[in-house]
């Protein structure tokens, strides 16, 4: 555990010792704020619950993009700089390296999500916030972030180019998001399979509306675990090349 925490500390330090970490936070918050003001609060009069639902809807998009951006460098950068071999030769298991790197990205994302909390709280100025929905929405964002960060970690392990890693994880996430639309156009039993795989519409929508389902929690944890397992297999295979 200590080894994992050391990696987390090192990775987070890399974010916050330069201005990059703060800049990324600021840009993401600004974009999220604009969307909040323009989409959630804009337009016709809405109930606070609707404003919250819309906030979680577009913040899920920002979260997915943020998770891809944050995670794409994890292994790709190490390979590009040739420092991955140092990690390999350190007294660390593959799992410790993977969990440490993924956890650092997820922690960074969690900090971003925590910083967005002032937006739904602004609703309290003139409206009523249902804290149950708030909790549910953030739980959904947190789990979605974990899953996408894990997918990004896997993509990052595949290549030495950060850009390519970002593109690969973006493609995987987009496929999983669009599988909801795809499920309406394929025959059984694949319609059920694609609908089940839908990262956003099937599994995140209930969270943002305030409904917490065990099936959705299990799904996000499964995607996270499977992605990290794939990363582990990729790292193991890389030892032979």
């Amino acid at each position: 555990m200590r080894a994992v925490l050391l990696i987390v500390q090192k990775e987070l330090g890399a974010y916050f010792k330069s201005m990059l970490g703060y800049l990324v936070f600021a840009v993401l918050l600004f974009v999220d704020g604009l969307l909040f003001h323009g989409l959630a609060l804009g337009g016709a009069d809405k109930l606070s619950a609707t404003v919250l639902t819309q906030f979680f809807n577009f913040t899920s998009g920002v979260t997915m993009i943020a998770a891809i951006l944050i995670s794409m460098r994890l292994f790709a950068e190490e390979r590009r700089d040739g420092t991955l071999v140092l990690l390999y030769t350190a007294p660390l298991t593959d799992w410790q390296i993977i969990i440490g790197k993924w956890l650092s990205a997820w922690t960074y994302l969690t900090l971003f999500l925590a910083l967005t909390a002032y937006m739904p709280l602004l609703v309290m100025v003139n409206g009523t916030v249902n804290f149950g929905q708030l909790l549910s929405g953030y739980l959904g964002l947190w789990l979605l972030g974990a899953a996408v960060t894990a997918i990004g970690t896997f993509a990052s392990s595949l290549t030495r180019s950060q850009l390519l890693a970002g593109a690969v994880s973006g493609a995987i996430v987009t496929t999983l998001v669009l599988s909801w639309q795809l499920s309406a156009r394929v025959d059984p039993p694949f319609d059920v399979l694609f609908s089940f795989l839908a990262l956003h519409n099937k599994h995140f929508l209930p969270f943002m509306k305030g409904s917490i389902h065990v099936r959705d929690i299990v799904y996000y944890l499964s995607v996270t675990f499977l992605s990290l397992l794939l990363t582990r297999q990729v790292l193991a295979a890389r030892r032979w090349t």
Binding site: L29, G42, L47, S48, N126, S183, D187, F190, V214, F225
Partner: protein, 601 residues
Amino acid sequence: MFAILSLIAALGGSGLLFLGERIAGPGVAARPVLSGIGAVLVLVAVVVRIVSLVTRPTERRVLALPVAAYASMLVGVVLYGLTLEGAPVGPDSDVSTMLAVLWPIFWTAGAVPAVLMELALRRMEGASRIEDRRVFSLGSGGLVIALATSWLLVINYVATDRDTSWDTRAVAEVQASGLTRTMVKSQTETVTATLFFPPANEVGETVEPYFQSLAKENPLFVVERTDAERNPGRAKELRARKNATIVLHRGDNRQSIVLDLEPAKARTTLKKFDTEVQSKLAKLTVTDRYVYVVTGHGERSTTPRTDEAPGFRDTREVLQRLGYRIKTITTTDGLTKAVPKDATFVLLAAPASPLLDSEVSTLRMYMRGGGSLFVLLDPESEKDPELGALLDDLGVAVDRTALVHDSTFVALTGAAIDRRNVVSNRFTSHGSTAVLSKVSGRAIVWFSGAAALTKSPAAGAADVTFTVKSFSGSYADANENLAFDDGEKKSVFNLVAAVQLPGADGERGGRAIVVGDADIISDKLLRHNLPNQQFLVDSIQWLEGNESAGAEVPDIEDTAIVHTRNEDQAWFWGMIVGMPVMLLIFGLVIRRFLRREWGAA
């Protein structure tokens, strides 16, 4: 050479099998050809790999791994074949269900390691010796991925099938009201709700939890969801012409609700969805429960004319939806003799003139015999001494002065008379207010000109519980000037009484609900305030002997949520731009601090 040949044969064969079974499908001539060739090709992959094993005996150990992988794929294909029509197992058995789970596991557990190992072996073609540990590592890695994927799919299947959820929503899009839940709960025959929706449809996802929540109320309420286009037989059987149709059926009796697959188009119907379901359920329900409404003394009517006092049209509708049949009982048809034996309960709604002695005697006898009576009083109606005798039996006394509250009331007209529209969420934990007492934080019952109730000195053995009390600060407005004067006293008053009479020989005694205000369930208030409807439903349930103490608490009132736009735009903008800027400044400060630290170091 062997590597690429085997891989192409195994994957190509599986692809052909997929084309034959899934794309061509049953009844198409190409199906057996494609599936047959596919299965043979998978077999060929195994054979090719066995040949390679024989030709390179020194590397038998490592080359046995791909053979095992292809064999696993072949087992998957064979198991799949066993589930087909005409096969020994066939498609409709428990074994077939088990095989349907096993064949993809075997196939994946073979395919993933096979791909990884063959790619590794291809790289080593021409090498003096094969790195067996590398092949083994990749093969075992692939097997781990395949088995983990299978395991996760199974876990997810179970999680979906046995899903538990926590609904934290203040306002659900479609939510079953207490009345609908009670209607479902009181069903004695199986009613099925068949939802025709394609998978991954938002409207379907919205209405399904609604029906699932109803199914929890009564095992006789069954919910099934299917796709009309993929299950045309069921759609035809239930006469559902298209998807987005909900059919509620009991035997041959069917009631349909047609929505739209597009959420935007379905929204209008969804807003009244619960009422729509209630009306359809009512048409499905057959009952022999009767409510006898006492008439002939100026009581509030269940079919009021416009020039009359607020009637009970809405109450009649609620009763009908709960499956009651409504009959009237007057002096001419037996009220002076006996209450009919088929009466579930009798409704006495604010008589404006005295009842005959014999009529009161009939009601008293009915109560002593274990009957149920819903008595609604009205301070405006004439004082009826004979009714007083009935109330004495019930242990309740009425002060016919209307209650007033100076600050907490419902502003129905905007005039001072609104002060008589007192409200309350002070409910006792009693069977007749079990649901309301659980949601008292958001359920407020409205009254209009309510009279205070007290326990009668002649209560005797009657067990009287005052279930709803007024807010403190209420007072009986003796001079009817709607203001608090000398001689008037502010206090907490009893508004509703639930009476349980002792039963003879272990039988259930009579039950009565006495309310000091007939408007609580009149058209004046009932249609405007859902908690009043809940009060009516709970009261009826208790009168009939169905305690609702264990009932699931429904969301009976939408939380009032105020909109948040147009106000303090500058402030909002300040926050949205200000927050990121503050963060950057914070980052700069931290960085400068760290630089100083590093410099010092």
